[in-house]
Symmetry: C2
Subunit: 283 residues, 2 copies
């Protein structure tokens, strides 16, 4: 790979650029971003070698699309229109069904790989990009059979070099599972933050009393609304279903408390403690 | 201080013992615990010097009560009955109102300091005890005026040596604020874990898809039900109030999604992003 183009030079795209640059020292990394300040930052941080634009995409061997999922729906077909027959394009979006649908009949569908690297932090923008973000992380690939085999190989080699493990799923199953495991976590965290902020008019109290417990639980409430709003929009049905179940579980817990049934409260927690073993499986 | 007794040699009591031992090398640390295996562990880990019992409490200069809050209600009066006039006793419970009420008329009330160090991890037991747990953490002291001045001084010197900052509150205010900032975080985390476990029959899917987001948000769901059930019981009214508000906020978010009002969804998150600044205040 000689010419790599990153569309969206933020946390996710920028971190890919940093790792790829380290492994392929002779390649040139081009950056495209509608945010000019981010492009400037990406240049000065050494994330990209050159600012670029859609007209230059025909030179790219690899294009990574790392922008909000609503923008991906617009940009991906345009990128596929421009690239050469040998180029591979992958996206990194947290929703997969709409994106796969959008390009299912595109003449260059076989140049596209639908990917979702399960990695990130609560920060965003090129300044948040870090080396090694993808090491030991899972990358979920959807509709792998729709991508040309030689181009699959190229992308999988790259993911493997970055230390990622691969898992294959269909887009529908991806969107359903990820609603539980990722999207719901973000909403629970945002609403926890809101509940506490609304109550604690005197912020000094939050500072002083928020031990490590609150801090970690509310961490995701720092996440970017510009990134998350389109995700919730695209995965609306699944996310609403998870919210229904979460609210039902919270109401049930509250009822047990109201009824003074603290044996049942204990059991609710004891059963869920099993999450320890599940999370140990992640390591 | 020569003789220090830790009642409950788990994460919280054990971590106090480790730090105190490091600073007061000539003191002897006695341990009392109804769990014999924990006492053995505390001995072999060097957390305590000697196993002890209530009969020996009259020798203690300092007693730390670090057991579940329901047990504290039973144990604290008995400890106060036994200690000498010069000894200081403090508890570390996550609720303060019931504990302060319980001993308000005890003849040794002035030997007791009601404390809540905002520190801990999701683990428990002596093996979870760590050095430096209290460094830069807040310790909330309630009804400080009820403790004899000389004994206050002794305890405050100890907290200061361990690197803690002190904040004074009345027990009612403590229990109300802590319900939002700590107790609600635990329930939101437990119910998030439950919702995901209920759904994901195939645990492999949780392993693979749970990026750092889910893991941190669900961390508190590893916490001990034996510790948390009595906390929720003692702080029932406040906790139910926080749950009501949390559920209302989640329902509102869901309604915005159902109505397709994603501008409002964006605004909900943008407003709550302010939590960044609040959490920066903690550092």
């Amino acid at each position: 790979m000689k010419n790599i183009c990153i569309v969206g030079v933020g946390l996710i795209g920028g971190s890919f650029a940093l790792d790829i640059k380290q492994q392929h020292t002779s390649c040139t990394i081009y950056g495209i971003d509608k945010n000019k300040a981010h492009l400037d930052d990406a240049m000065s941080l050494g994330i990209i070698d050159k600012k670029s634009n859609f007209e230059e995409l025909d030179k790219a061997d690899l294009v990574i699309i790392a922008i909000p999922v609503d923008a991906t729906l617009e940009v991906l077909p345009k990128v596929l229109d421009k690239i050469s027959d040998e180029a591979i394009v992958f996206d990194v979006g947290s929703t997969k069904e709409d994106i796969c649908l959008k390009v299912q009949s595109h003449p260059k569908r076989r140049n596209f790989l639908a990917a979702h690297p399960i990695a990130g932090t609560e920060y965003s923008g090129p300044k948040a990009a870090i080396r090694g973000l993808y090491k030991n992380k899972t990358n979920i690939i959807c509709e792998v059979e729709e991508t040309a085999f030689k181009l699959q190989e190229k992308a999988l080699k790259l993911f493997s070099d970055l230390g990622m493990r691969i898992r294959y799923m269909n887009p529908k199953a991806h969107d359903k599972h990820i609603a539980y495991v990722s999207h719901l976590s973000h909403i629970s965290s945002f609403m926890l933050g809101k509940t506490v902020i609304d109550k604690e008019k005197n912020e000094r109290d939050i500072f002083d009393m928020a031990g490590s417990g609150f801090e970690s639980t509310v961490r995701l409430a720092k996440s970017s609304p510009a990134m998350w709003t389109p995700i919730f929009k695209q995965n609306k049905t699944n996310v609403i279903e998870t919210l229904d179940e979460y609210i039902t579980n919270l109401k049930h817990f509250k009822e047990l408390m109201e009824n003074g049934d603290f044996e049942a409260v204990y059991k609710e927690m004891e059963t869920t403690n099993h999450i320890k073993d599940i999370l140990n499986g992640i390591k």
